[in-house]
Symmetry: D2
Subunit: 337 residues, 4 copies
């Protein structure tokens, strides 16, 4: 960390600050430039220390020179993390496709979707039992009954299951029927939930928050990793911008960037990322070309009857066609589906 | 709601859509323009119906003509809501100032802050026992012990207390020592928490999410209102933009806008809104001039020793001076402190 | 266009508005719902009419149901536009790569870059003679001398040239040495410049503004098209968001979306879009997979000595490798380089 | 400036970088921490040098510790700049109100607006002859005839005039009839225009760009100041965010922040800042309370007939009432109108 003194700082001011830093256990290194005195601070990065420094009237600003994440960072773990789930893995040359309806509506709908995506080559069924909805008057999910349907469809189809958990008190129930536990974008900074997910031994799919920086996203992963659960899959799903034509702006540059900064696998959800089924095929291909380890795609047996997210859901036919096209794109970047 | 047909839609397409709308219980009203057929849909706004329509290939877009909030809207409740809390009220000509440290660090710090803000004229003490922190390695709050300190300081000073609740399972504990229960920005769309807050009978301070639109914010209030708890105070605390010099961009236009759209009182938090104590006085005055019903300001006995948010905290002296200045500004817009 | 009356609007209010609309030459179509009267307005979309309506106290809001662009829209021109430039074309199955340094620094640097990109398979040399720079103290481009170097290098290498024009008064000079005239992001809404570009007969590369919506971008193209110049190539180059790790957020979803809305070709600039050379290869591949008609990539003989944009420039070696990889990705989506 | 070496940098790498810095004329100061070697660079801030450093593979990042603006900064000029215009001044305890229609439509409209705002106490008439419009099919301004009308109304009313210039080639014409030359938001980074405005001796009103950071805005001012024209008035007019209810998000925190960073006067345009006349009074008061040196407000004799921006224009009556209310707010912060 670097502490930049005010332009008019005196020798006494500098001594006051360096003394305080030493009291905090830091080493200091002075550098006096033409306009500013700069203090190189030697020791562990700590937000508290930085804030204390920023609150000093003699200090102009504090600059971090290291990233705040540790366990999630490449420096800590240079090799790519591979997460084994059932008979498959995330983070290898194989691209994993997770697909299915936004919400579980009934057993038939879920089974139809599951069979369709399985036939097309997807390995993981996505479907929500607990649904975070903007309006209290919208369908809020089948909840426990939805989990039961998931269990039955898992048994019938052999598909792996990813489904969302909404609070720390239903983790156990969800973990019973899910192979991957999803943390939704709205919960990315629900730290009490993240802490509990650090204590279990199931892979967690951590969606990027609507307006989360990549650093905040990796810090959310750090909560889970620091609890002892190392199996975190990151999922880019679009960020909020000023553009109104799309529901969100899918930030595909997050894929190669996260791969530089972190060892964790990262997948992409082009359905939420765009909100428009007509854009999903192009953005799915783009995600693979950008290096994504997988995709999460909404597929509904009949999008026009979906209780939620119909406009961004593919039909089974559209999904099957897309899966065919994706094989070529994956191959072009040395991957396979 | 308005359904806009595709440019090339045939009579048969239009009939298909109007039939489906009628099946859903809606009345329809056709309007054929030069380039588009537009269907006026008569009946209650329902997101599910809109999404189903948008998923139809014959439909270009769906446009809402009413707002999604009901109980939170001015149409439903034309008069300003006044919320009585102890011997004071929010939403009258009196401007309510809530002040105190970001986090409860120990009993002394809390009591010092409380006495200072009381002496300066604040009526409500703010202080967090449960702290949502970006890093798992940062101080996470004193939790239950913090609530205990709040109780003691409430008894000693007679100040009202506002403090944050982080999940639905600690609502009762928090409600025991708080006069106003705060929902933080990160939890604005934690719907399970909002639903439970709808069942209690204590005022809720609902902070605007970091990237929440005003409509989403009012829909979060709608969750609480629709559960039966009508005492919701909205709090603007800055939104995330591209500007790096400030922590957030304080959206003061939200104040008069919310007052047009809703009957709920709205206050402003310039401390989080800017992240810089040097901007807090100017933005506090601006908030009152814009019509805010109150302020929430971070004050710490010694910001340089604060474990969190020191850079945005006022000293007791700065706060006392600000309170003096605010009286004049309040008076200039027909209010008082 | 749809005019939504206030909730309390009387019959008299409605008549006032419909009369005014008729005076403006519009047909009207009334639809009375449970909460609102809605007026379907038949006739050409005009911003002036919409604003006049919105300024009426009896009107709650005005909603457009058609897009504002005409000549740029797919409805007007259903087939893809193909733009012929020299012996090549933009908008066919062939993907066009434009590459070169950010700024022309001297003749050697330019020639080295040109030869390197030509050897690697690029067809168009990009290089700026006029440079818009945030700081008045930064290098502002070689200006006229730069254009001369471009001419010489064009003659020597046979490469096509794309270079930026900064104002309407240097269009002729730039057009003399450029095969494609570039409008930079900062000038996307420089309407006087756009108007003049509508009068020439040279292809224009129109970069998306830093915070331009897709609609505004297409309206900027509309300025050029409406002047009579139909050869506009759109270029996505990243938008401004809250994310600090990248210079901009490359909005690849703009590619398939623009292709739906418009017939114009669209290319992608991953160099400005990310600001980081390490992300350029992944995002170049992603752009092609998303359906981009081309790429614009910064290549510098020696990025560490570049006077601008070194951090986002590829070396000739990196560029050659990338071109090899791009061939496979292009093929996987039915294109070639 | 601080150069942060890669985590694995060797002694040889460090020497390579320090040697290069010395060649560039910088002094260096090494600081070796636990994880990184940091080089304090002594000498003038130069973007070119920073970019060259960032392009070196041995370097992780470059951090600036000084601001890029010089002449616009408080360090260079600690006292507030006061700009004398005719018989009035901007930047004193007097708050200056500029008001009038968005566009000049005809002489009557302009004169009516002028007389109304003069009667209410405004000192400067704003009205546009050259109009930047999103659509090529919208009214583009009366251009030269508009300037003539401005001249006539100036003579009749004695009001000062502020009007927009759209390119560097009409500066002289505009300067003849304007007391203050306005640079619109879309032209904030039209550097060729800014350079020419640096050569004249007339006050320039520099609007903040739609997505300009405060630093970029001050750098745009720096272009004008570095040309020798020291009379720059900054104008905050709203930034682009994700919020759709308002046209822009008025960033009032820019006012106290600019006052800390710079000596230049700053005013606020709540009309463009919100896009809604109903929010203009509240935001005008808030602007004054935040410390703004003035206001720019759209007033139209008949907003319902305005050719542009009717929805955000006040009527003469509304403006007169607002002016009355503003007096009290100004007084409450030690200013007057």
């Amino acid at each position: 960390m670097i502490v930049v003194m005010n332009p008019g700082a005196t020798q006494k001011d500098v001594t006051k600050i360096t003394d305080k830093l030493k009291t905090m256990g830091y080493g200091v290194h002075l550098s006096t430039g033409e306009n500013r005195t700069v203090i190189g601070v030697i020791g562990q990065r700590r937000e508290e220390a930085a804030q204390a420094m920023e609150a000093m009237p003699e200090v102009e600003q504090v600059v971090f020179i290291t990233r705040p994440f540790k366990l999630a960072g490449r420096e800590f773990h240079p090799e790519d993390t591979v997460i084994n789930i059932g008979n498959t893995s995330v983070g290898t040359d194989e691209v994993i496709v997770m697909a299915g309806p936004c919400a579980i509506e009934n057993e038939d709908q879920l089974l139809q979707a599951a069979e369709a995506i399985k036939a097309a080559g997807a390995k993981v069924l996505r479907a929500g039992a607990f649904k975070p909805r903007t309006s209290p008057y919208s369908f809020q999910g089948l909840e426990k009954q939805g989990l039961q349907f998931l269990n039955e469809v898992r048994a019938k189809t052999g598909l792996l299951i990813v489904t969302e958990v909404m609070d720390q008190f239903t983790i156990d129930e969800v973990a019973e029927c899910a192979d991957i536990i999803q943390v939704g974008a709205r919960n990315m900074q629900n730290y009490y939930l993240l802490r509990e997910l650090g204590k279990i031994r199931k892979p967690v799919l951590l969606k990027r928050g609507l307006s989360a920086t990549i650093e905040e996203w990796l810090m959310a992963a750090e909560y889970i990793l620091s609890g002892g659960n190392y199996d975190v899959i990151l999922c880019e799903r679009g960020i909020r911008t000023f553009e109104p034509y799309t529901r969100n702006t899918l930030d595909l540059s997050a894929v190669p960037l996260v791969k530089q900064l972190s060892h964790l696998p990262v997948i992409v959800d082009p359905s939420h990322g765009t909100g428009l089924s007509g854009l999903v095929p192009a953005m799915s291909k783009a995600a693979l070309a950008a290096g994504s380890d997988g995709l999460m795609i909404e597929v509904h047996p009949n999008p026009q009857e979906a209780v939620s997210d119909g406009p961004q859901s593919l039909t089974p036919d559209q999904f099957r066609n897309l899966m065919e096209e994706l094989k070529g794109v994956a191959a072009s970047v040395g991957r396979f589906i």
